[in-house]
Protein backbone atom coordinates (compact mmCIF):
# COMPACT_ATOMS: atom_id res chain seq x y z
CA UNK A 1 0.00 0.00 0.00
CA UNK A 2 1.50 3.32 -0.99
CA UNK A 3 1.92 6.39 1.16
CA UNK A 4 -1.21 8.38 0.16
CA UNK A 5 -3.48 5.37 0.54
CA UNK A 6 -2.11 4.76 4.04
CA UNK A 7 -2.67 8.42 4.92
CA UNK A 8 -6.27 8.32 3.64
CA UNK A 9 -6.98 5.12 5.58
CA UNK A 10 -5.50 6.53 8.80
CA UNK A 11 -7.45 9.80 8.47
CA UNK A 12 -10.66 7.93 7.79
CA UNK A 13 -10.14 5.69 10.83
CA UNK A 14 -9.49 8.69 13.11
CA UNK A 15 -12.42 10.60 11.60
CA UNK A 16 -14.75 7.63 12.25
CA UNK A 17 -15.93 8.98 15.65
CA UNK A 18 -16.68 12.38 14.08
CA UNK A 19 -18.60 10.83 11.17
CA UNK A 20 -20.50 8.65 13.60
CA UNK A 21 -21.28 11.63 15.85
CA UNK A 22 -22.63 13.60 12.91
CA UNK A 23 -24.76 10.61 11.92
CA UNK A 24 -26.11 10.46 15.49
CA UNK A 25 -27.10 14.13 15.10
CA UNK A 26 -28.81 13.31 11.80
CA UNK A 27 -30.51 10.41 13.57
CA UNK A 28 -31.94 12.66 16.28
CA UNK A 29 -33.01 15.32 13.79
CA UNK A 30 -34.71 12.82 11.49
CA UNK A 31 -36.38 11.02 14.41
CA UNK A 32 -37.72 14.38 15.61
CA UNK A 33 -39.04 15.18 12.13
CA UNK A 34 -40.76 11.79 11.93
CA UNK A 35 -42.51 12.68 15.21
CA UNK A 36 -43.45 16.15 13.89
CA UNK A 37 -40.97 17.91 16.15
CA UNK A 38 -38.25 20.42 15.32
CA UNK A 39 -35.52 18.41 16.98
CA UNK A 40 -32.13 19.33 18.40
CA UNK A 41 -29.34 20.98 16.38
CA UNK A 42 -27.22 18.72 14.20
CA UNK A 43 -24.21 19.11 16.52
CA UNK A 44 -26.22 18.00 19.57
CA UNK A 45 -24.25 14.74 20.15
CA UNK A 46 -21.03 16.77 20.23
CA UNK A 47 -22.49 19.20 22.79
CA UNK A 48 -23.62 16.22 24.88
CA UNK A 49 -20.23 14.52 24.76
CA UNK A 50 -18.35 17.75 25.53
CA UNK A 51 -20.64 18.49 28.46
CA UNK A 52 -20.22 14.97 29.80
CA UNK A 53 -16.46 15.34 29.46
CA UNK A 54 -16.55 18.54 31.52
CA UNK A 55 -18.67 17.12 34.32
CA UNK A 56 -17.38 15.58 37.53
CA UNK A 57 -17.06 11.83 37.04
CA UNK A 58 -18.28 9.47 39.74
CA UNK A 59 -16.01 6.46 39.31
CA UNK A 60 -17.31 3.34 41.01
CA UNK A 61 -14.15 1.26 40.60
CA UNK A 62 -10.64 1.75 39.24
CA UNK A 63 -11.50 -0.71 36.47
CA UNK A 64 -14.33 1.42 35.07
CA UNK A 65 -12.24 4.11 33.30
CA UNK A 66 -9.89 1.42 31.94
CA UNK A 67 -12.82 -0.43 30.40
CA UNK A 68 -14.33 2.82 29.05
CA UNK A 69 -11.01 3.62 27.35
CA UNK A 70 -10.90 -0.01 26.20
CA UNK A 71 -14.34 0.30 24.60
CA UNK A 72 -13.27 3.36 22.60
CA UNK A 73 -9.85 1.87 21.86
CA UNK A 74 -11.16 -1.41 20.49
CA UNK A 75 -13.83 0.46 18.49
CA UNK A 76 -11.11 2.67 16.94
CA UNK A 77 -8.94 -0.38 16.17
CA UNK A 78 -11.93 -2.00 14.44
CA UNK A 79 -12.48 1.18 12.39
CA UNK A 80 -8.77 1.13 11.49
CA UNK A 81 -8.97 -2.52 10.44
CA UNK A 82 -11.82 -1.63 8.08
CA UNK A 83 -10.14 1.41 6.54
CA UNK A 84 -6.85 -0.49 6.12
CA UNK A 85 -8.83 -3.26 4.36
CA UNK A 86 -7.97 -6.04 6.76
CA UNK A 87 -9.75 -9.26 7.67
CA UNK A 88 -13.50 -9.03 8.30
CA UNK A 89 -13.33 -11.76 10.95
CA UNK A 90 -10.75 -9.74 12.86
CA UNK A 91 -13.07 -6.70 12.68
CA UNK A 92 -15.87 -8.85 14.13
CA UNK A 93 -13.71 -10.08 17.01
CA UNK A 94 -12.26 -6.66 17.84
CA UNK A 95 -15.76 -5.11 17.84
CA UNK A 96 -16.80 -7.97 20.08
CA UNK A 97 -13.95 -7.09 22.46
CA UNK A 98 -15.25 -3.51 22.61
CA UNK A 99 -18.71 -4.80 23.56
CA UNK A 100 -17.19 -7.11 26.15
CA UNK A 101 -15.40 -4.12 27.73
CA UNK A 102 -18.77 -2.38 28.03
CA UNK A 103 -20.58 -5.36 29.51
CA UNK A 104 -17.78 -6.21 31.94
CA UNK A 105 -17.84 -2.60 33.14
CA UNK A 106 -21.62 -2.90 33.59
CA UNK A 107 -21.27 -6.20 35.49
CA UNK A 108 -18.46 -4.79 37.60
CA UNK A 109 -20.63 -2.03 39.08
CA UNK A 110 -22.67 -2.99 42.11
CA UNK A 111 -25.94 -1.95 40.52
CA UNK A 112 -28.81 -4.22 39.56
CA UNK A 113 -29.88 -1.96 36.68
CA UNK A 114 -26.45 -1.94 35.14
CA UNK A 115 -26.21 -5.72 35.70
CA UNK A 116 -29.52 -6.35 33.91
CA UNK A 117 -28.48 -3.99 31.12
CA UNK A 118 -25.18 -5.85 30.77
CA UNK A 119 -27.01 -9.15 30.55
CA UNK A 120 -29.24 -7.80 27.82
CA UNK A 121 -26.19 -6.43 26.00
CA UNK A 122 -24.66 -9.92 26.06
CA UNK A 123 -27.91 -11.35 24.67
CA UNK A 124 -27.84 -8.73 21.93
CA UNK A 125 -24.30 -9.83 21.06
CA UNK A 126 -25.47 -13.44 21.08
CA UNK A 127 -28.21 -12.44 18.64
CA UNK A 128 -26.24 -10.53 16.03
CA UNK A 129 -22.71 -11.92 16.04
CA UNK A 130 -23.57 -15.36 14.57
CA UNK A 131 -25.60 -13.63 11.84
CA UNK A 132 -22.69 -11.32 11.06
CA UNK A 133 -20.32 -14.28 11.01
CA UNK A 134 -22.61 -16.12 8.61
CA UNK A 135 -22.85 -13.05 6.37
CA UNK A 136 -19.04 -12.83 6.28
CA UNK A 137 -18.85 -16.55 5.43
CA UNK A 138 -21.27 -15.89 2.55
CA UNK A 139 -18.99 -13.07 1.38
CA UNK A 140 -16.05 -15.49 1.66
CA UNK A 141 -17.86 -18.10 -0.45
CA UNK A 142 -18.42 -15.51 -3.19
CA UNK A 143 -15.11 -13.63 -3.17
CA UNK A 144 -12.84 -16.40 -1.89
CA UNK A 145 -11.36 -14.19 0.81
CA UNK A 146 -12.26 -12.91 4.27
CA UNK A 147 -10.24 -9.73 3.79
CA UNK A 148 -11.78 -6.44 2.70
CA UNK A 149 -8.99 -6.14 0.16
CA UNK A 150 -10.33 -9.38 -1.33
CA UNK A 151 -13.76 -7.79 -1.72
CA UNK A 152 -12.19 -4.88 -3.60
CA UNK A 153 -10.17 -7.29 -5.76
CA UNK A 154 -13.33 -9.27 -6.55
CA UNK A 155 -14.23 -6.33 -8.80
CA UNK A 156 -17.97 -6.79 -9.20
CA UNK A 157 -20.43 -5.36 -6.64
CA UNK A 158 -21.68 -7.84 -4.02
CA UNK A 159 -25.25 -6.52 -3.72
CA UNK A 160 -26.65 -8.27 -6.85
CA UNK A 161 -25.10 -11.53 -5.64
CA UNK A 162 -25.89 -11.31 -1.90
CA UNK A 163 -29.06 -9.18 -1.51
CA UNK A 164 -30.46 -11.35 1.32
CA UNK A 165 -27.24 -11.01 3.33
CA UNK A 166 -27.68 -7.23 3.23
CA UNK A 167 -31.21 -7.56 4.62
CA UNK A 168 -29.86 -9.79 7.41
CA UNK A 169 -27.19 -7.17 8.18
CA UNK A 170 -29.93 -4.50 8.37
CA UNK A 171 -31.39 -6.39 11.36
CA UNK A 172 -27.88 -6.48 12.83
CA UNK A 173 -27.54 -2.72 12.28
CA UNK A 174 -30.78 -2.04 14.17
CA UNK A 175 -29.48 -4.04 17.16
CA UNK A 176 -26.07 -2.40 17.01
CA UNK A 177 -27.60 1.07 16.96
CA UNK A 178 -29.74 0.09 19.98
CA UNK A 179 -32.91 1.06 18.17
CA UNK A 180 -36.47 -0.15 18.65
CA UNK A 181 -37.57 -2.98 18.47
CA UNK A 182 -34.21 -4.13 19.87
CA UNK A 183 -33.36 -1.23 22.22
CA UNK A 184 -33.35 -3.48 25.28
CA UNK A 185 -29.97 -2.88 26.83
CA UNK A 186 -29.23 0.81 26.75
CA UNK A 187 -31.88 3.24 25.58
CA UNK A 188 -34.99 1.40 26.70
CA UNK A 189 -36.63 4.70 27.70
CA UNK A 190 -35.70 4.30 31.38
CA UNK A 191 -37.00 0.73 31.63
CA UNK A 192 -33.73 -0.07 33.46
CA UNK A 193 -32.77 3.57 34.24
CA UNK A 194 -30.05 3.62 31.54
CA UNK A 195 -29.37 -0.09 31.31
CA UNK A 196 -25.79 -0.91 30.53
CA UNK A 197 -24.81 2.79 30.70
CA UNK A 198 -26.31 3.46 34.14
CA UNK A 199 -23.10 3.55 36.13
CA UNK A 200 -21.05 5.65 33.71
CA UNK A 201 -20.76 9.35 34.38
CA UNK A 202 -18.67 12.31 33.32
CA UNK A 203 -15.76 11.50 31.03
CA UNK A 204 -16.32 7.73 31.13
CA UNK A 205 -19.78 8.25 29.57
CA UNK A 206 -18.23 10.63 27.02
CA UNK A 207 -15.77 7.87 26.07
CA UNK A 208 -18.61 5.38 25.73
CA UNK A 209 -20.48 7.84 23.48
CA UNK A 210 -17.38 8.29 21.30
CA UNK A 211 -17.03 4.52 21.11
CA UNK A 212 -20.65 4.16 20.02
CA UNK A 213 -20.17 6.74 17.25
CA UNK A 214 -17.06 4.90 16.07
CA UNK A 215 -18.93 1.59 16.04
CA UNK A 216 -21.79 3.11 14.04
CA UNK A 217 -19.36 4.51 11.46
CA UNK A 218 -17.55 1.15 11.27
CA UNK A 219 -20.79 -0.78 10.79
CA UNK A 220 -21.84 1.57 7.98
CA UNK A 221 -18.39 1.34 6.35
CA UNK A 222 -18.73 -2.46 6.32
CA UNK A 223 -22.20 -2.16 4.74
CA UNK A 224 -20.79 0.12 2.02
CA UNK A 225 -18.56 -2.80 0.94
CA UNK A 226 -21.61 -4.29 -0.73
CA UNK A 227 -20.85 -1.95 -3.64
CA UNK A 228 -17.10 -1.94 -3.27
CA UNK A 229 -16.11 -0.84 -6.82
CA UNK A 230 -17.76 2.58 -6.31
CA UNK A 231 -17.41 4.17 -2.86
CA UNK A 232 -20.17 6.69 -3.67
CA UNK A 233 -22.80 4.02 -4.38
CA UNK A 234 -21.47 2.08 -1.36
CA UNK A 235 -21.94 5.09 0.91
CA UNK A 236 -25.42 5.62 -0.55
CA UNK A 237 -26.33 2.01 0.28
CA UNK A 238 -25.10 2.30 3.85
CA UNK A 239 -26.90 5.63 4.38
CA UNK A 240 -30.09 4.13 2.96
CA UNK A 241 -29.79 1.28 5.46
CA UNK A 242 -29.21 3.83 8.25
CA UNK A 243 -32.41 5.59 7.19
CA UNK A 244 -34.36 2.31 7.12
CA UNK A 245 -33.12 1.60 10.67
CA UNK A 246 -34.56 4.97 11.78
CA UNK A 247 -37.93 4.20 10.15
CA UNK A 248 -37.98 0.79 11.87
CA UNK A 249 -37.12 2.52 15.15
CA UNK A 250 -40.11 4.82 14.86
CA UNK A 251 -42.52 2.12 13.73
CA UNK A 252 -42.01 -0.74 16.15
CA UNK A 253 -42.36 -1.16 19.92
CA UNK A 254 -39.71 -2.88 21.99
CA UNK A 255 -39.48 -6.69 21.92
CA UNK A 256 -38.29 -8.97 24.70
CA UNK A 257 -34.85 -10.53 24.41
CA UNK A 258 -36.38 -13.92 23.58
CA UNK A 259 -38.18 -12.40 20.60
CA UNK A 260 -35.01 -10.55 19.62
CA UNK A 261 -32.98 -13.77 19.61
CA UNK A 262 -35.65 -15.67 17.70
CA UNK A 263 -36.24 -12.92 15.11
CA UNK A 264 -32.59 -12.26 14.45
CA UNK A 265 -31.56 -15.86 14.16
CA UNK A 266 -34.63 -16.89 12.13
CA UNK A 267 -34.42 -13.94 9.71
CA UNK A 268 -30.62 -13.83 9.54
CA UNK A 269 -29.84 -17.54 9.24
CA UNK A 270 -32.68 -18.37 6.85
CA UNK A 271 -32.01 -15.42 4.54
CA UNK A 272 -28.26 -15.99 4.31
CA UNK A 273 -28.54 -19.78 3.87
CA UNK A 274 -31.21 -19.34 1.16
CA UNK A 275 -28.98 -16.78 -0.54
CA UNK A 276 -25.97 -19.11 -0.50
CA UNK A 277 -28.03 -22.11 -1.68
CA UNK A 278 -29.42 -20.05 -4.56
CA UNK A 279 -25.91 -19.01 -5.53
CA UNK A 280 -24.69 -22.61 -5.38
CA UNK A 281 -27.59 -23.77 -7.58
CA UNK A 282 -26.99 -20.86 -9.94
CA UNK A 283 -23.33 -21.79 -10.22
CA UNK A 284 -21.83 -18.57 -8.82
CA UNK A 285 -20.24 -20.54 -5.94
CA UNK A 286 -18.40 -23.62 -7.01
Amino acid sequence: MDYTATLISATLALAAPLIGGLLMGVDRKLTARMQERVGPPLAQPFYDALKLWGKTAIIDSSLQPVLAFGYLGFALVAAGLVTFRQNLLLVLFVTGMADICLTVAAFNAKSSYSYLGGRREFLAMLSYEPVMLLAYIAIFLVTGSFTIRGIYEYGAPLLPVLPAALVALEVVLVIEMKKSPFDLSGYAHQELVRGVFTEFSGYTMALIELGRWTKLATALMILSLFWAPSPVIGAAISLAMFFVALIVDNLYPRLTWQRMLRTTWAVGFVLIVLNVVALAVGGVIR
Partner: protein, 146 residues
Protein backbone atom coordinates in the same frame (compact mmCIF):
# COMPACT_ATOMS: atom_id res chain seq x y z
CA UNK B 1 -18.15 31.97 26.83
CA UNK B 2 -15.97 28.92 26.48
CA UNK B 3 -16.96 25.94 24.33
CA UNK B 4 -17.55 23.84 27.43
CA UNK B 5 -19.94 26.43 28.87
CA UNK B 6 -21.79 26.52 25.56
CA UNK B 7 -22.03 22.72 25.55
CA UNK B 8 -23.40 22.82 29.10
CA UNK B 9 -26.10 25.27 28.07
CA UNK B 10 -26.94 23.25 24.98
CA UNK B 11 -27.46 19.90 26.67
CA UNK B 12 -29.17 20.00 30.04
CA UNK B 13 -30.19 16.45 30.89
CA UNK B 14 -33.10 16.37 33.28
CA UNK B 15 -33.81 13.99 36.12
CA UNK B 16 -37.32 14.16 37.45
CA UNK B 17 -38.09 13.11 41.03
CA UNK B 18 -41.45 13.20 42.76
CA UNK B 19 -41.04 13.75 46.50
CA UNK B 20 -44.67 12.80 47.10
CA UNK B 21 -47.19 15.34 45.92
CA UNK B 22 -50.54 14.88 44.21
CA UNK B 23 -48.89 14.05 40.83
CA UNK B 24 -50.41 17.18 39.24
CA UNK B 25 -46.99 18.76 38.73
CA UNK B 26 -45.52 15.43 37.53
CA UNK B 27 -48.13 15.29 34.81
CA UNK B 28 -47.23 18.85 33.83
CA UNK B 29 -43.51 17.97 33.78
CA UNK B 30 -44.26 15.00 31.53
CA UNK B 31 -46.50 17.23 29.39
CA UNK B 32 -43.52 19.54 28.95
CA UNK B 33 -41.55 16.57 27.59
CA UNK B 34 -44.14 15.63 24.95
CA UNK B 35 -43.65 16.34 21.22
CA UNK B 36 -45.98 19.36 21.47
CA UNK B 37 -43.47 21.37 23.49
CA UNK B 38 -40.47 19.51 21.99
CA UNK B 39 -37.88 20.36 24.64
CA UNK B 40 -35.33 18.26 22.76
CA UNK B 41 -34.74 21.27 20.48
CA UNK B 42 -32.96 22.82 23.50
CA UNK B 43 -31.09 19.55 24.03
CA UNK B 44 -33.19 18.69 27.08
CA UNK B 45 -33.56 14.94 27.59
CA UNK B 46 -35.38 13.23 30.44
CA UNK B 47 -32.49 10.95 31.38
CA UNK B 48 -33.64 9.38 34.64
CA UNK B 49 -30.09 8.49 35.67
CA UNK B 50 -28.78 10.74 38.47
CA UNK B 51 -25.17 10.00 37.53
CA UNK B 52 -25.66 11.59 34.11
CA UNK B 53 -28.18 14.30 34.95
CA UNK B 54 -27.49 18.05 35.04
CA UNK B 55 -30.82 19.40 36.19
CA UNK B 56 -32.96 17.95 38.95
CA UNK B 57 -36.65 18.70 38.53
CA UNK B 58 -38.35 18.09 41.88
CA UNK B 59 -42.06 18.09 42.59
CA UNK B 60 -44.07 17.67 45.78
CA UNK B 61 -43.34 18.33 49.45
CA UNK B 62 -40.57 16.49 51.28
CA UNK B 63 -41.63 14.07 54.00
CA UNK B 64 -39.66 12.18 56.61
CA UNK B 65 -39.73 8.97 54.57
CA UNK B 66 -38.14 10.33 51.42
CA UNK B 67 -35.76 13.05 52.64
CA UNK B 68 -32.94 10.48 52.71
CA UNK B 69 -33.72 9.38 49.12
CA UNK B 70 -33.75 13.01 47.99
CA UNK B 71 -30.41 13.73 49.66
CA UNK B 72 -28.88 10.56 48.14
CA UNK B 73 -30.09 11.52 44.68
CA UNK B 74 -28.76 15.06 45.11
CA UNK B 75 -25.35 13.72 46.05
CA UNK B 76 -25.35 11.26 43.13
CA UNK B 77 -25.78 14.04 40.56
CA UNK B 78 -22.26 15.18 39.62
CA UNK B 79 -21.30 18.88 39.57
CA UNK B 80 -22.18 21.27 37.99
CA UNK B 81 -25.83 20.70 38.77
CA UNK B 82 -29.02 22.72 39.05
CA UNK B 83 -32.03 22.05 41.24
CA UNK B 84 -35.47 23.23 40.20
CA UNK B 85 -38.42 23.03 42.59
CA UNK B 86 -41.58 22.75 40.49
CA UNK B 87 -44.95 23.55 42.02
CA UNK B 88 -46.06 25.24 45.20
CA UNK B 89 -45.52 22.08 47.27
CA UNK B 90 -41.89 21.72 46.24
CA UNK B 91 -41.33 25.44 46.82
CA UNK B 92 -42.87 25.83 50.28
CA UNK B 93 -44.81 22.71 51.21
CA UNK B 94 -47.97 24.26 49.80
CA UNK B 95 -51.24 22.84 50.99
CA UNK B 96 -49.35 20.26 53.06
CA UNK B 97 -47.53 22.97 54.99
CA UNK B 98 -47.36 22.24 58.75
CA UNK B 99 -48.61 18.69 58.34
CA UNK B 100 -46.92 16.51 60.96
CA UNK B 101 -45.40 14.15 58.38
CA UNK B 102 -44.17 16.92 56.07
CA UNK B 103 -40.86 18.76 56.37
CA UNK B 104 -41.91 21.49 53.95
CA UNK B 105 -40.38 22.56 50.65
CA UNK B 106 -37.46 20.85 48.95
CA UNK B 107 -35.14 23.58 50.26
CA UNK B 108 -35.43 22.12 53.77
CA UNK B 109 -33.23 19.23 52.59
CA UNK B 110 -31.13 20.40 49.63
CA UNK B 111 -30.20 23.81 48.14
CA UNK B 112 -32.60 24.94 45.40
CA UNK B 113 -31.58 27.15 42.47
CA UNK B 114 -34.88 27.95 40.79
CA UNK B 115 -38.42 28.01 42.18
CA UNK B 116 -41.30 27.46 39.77
CA UNK B 117 -44.51 28.19 41.73
CA UNK B 118 -47.98 27.21 40.63
CA UNK B 119 -50.55 24.59 41.47
CA UNK B 120 -49.93 22.93 39.15
CA UNK B 121 -47.07 24.70 37.39
CA UNK B 122 -47.73 24.99 33.65
CA UNK B 123 -45.39 23.29 31.14
CA UNK B 124 -44.36 26.70 29.76
CA UNK B 125 -43.39 27.82 33.28
CA UNK B 126 -41.38 24.65 33.81
CA UNK B 127 -39.46 25.14 30.55
CA UNK B 128 -38.94 28.78 31.57
CA UNK B 129 -37.56 27.56 34.91
CA UNK B 130 -35.06 25.29 33.17
CA UNK B 131 -33.96 28.21 30.96
CA UNK B 132 -33.54 30.38 34.08
CA UNK B 133 -31.43 27.64 35.69
CA UNK B 134 -29.27 27.52 32.57
CA UNK B 135 -28.76 31.29 32.74
CA UNK B 136 -27.60 30.85 36.30
CA UNK B 137 -25.28 28.06 35.18
CA UNK B 138 -23.79 30.37 32.55
CA UNK B 139 -23.09 32.95 35.24
CA UNK B 140 -25.59 35.53 34.05
CA UNK B 141 -27.52 37.29 36.75
CA UNK B 142 -31.17 36.32 36.28
CA UNK B 143 -33.40 39.33 35.68
CA UNK B 144 -35.55 40.54 38.51
CA UNK B 145 -39.10 39.26 38.22
CA UNK B 146 -41.20 40.61 35.41
Amino acid sequence: MTLLQKARLKSPWVMHFDCGGCNGCDIEVLAALTPKFDVERFGIINIGDPKQADVMVLTGPVNHKNKRVLRDLYEEVPDPKMVIAVGTCACTGGIFHNCPNILGGVNKVIPVDVYVPGCAARPEQIIDGVVLALKKLAGEAPEEDE
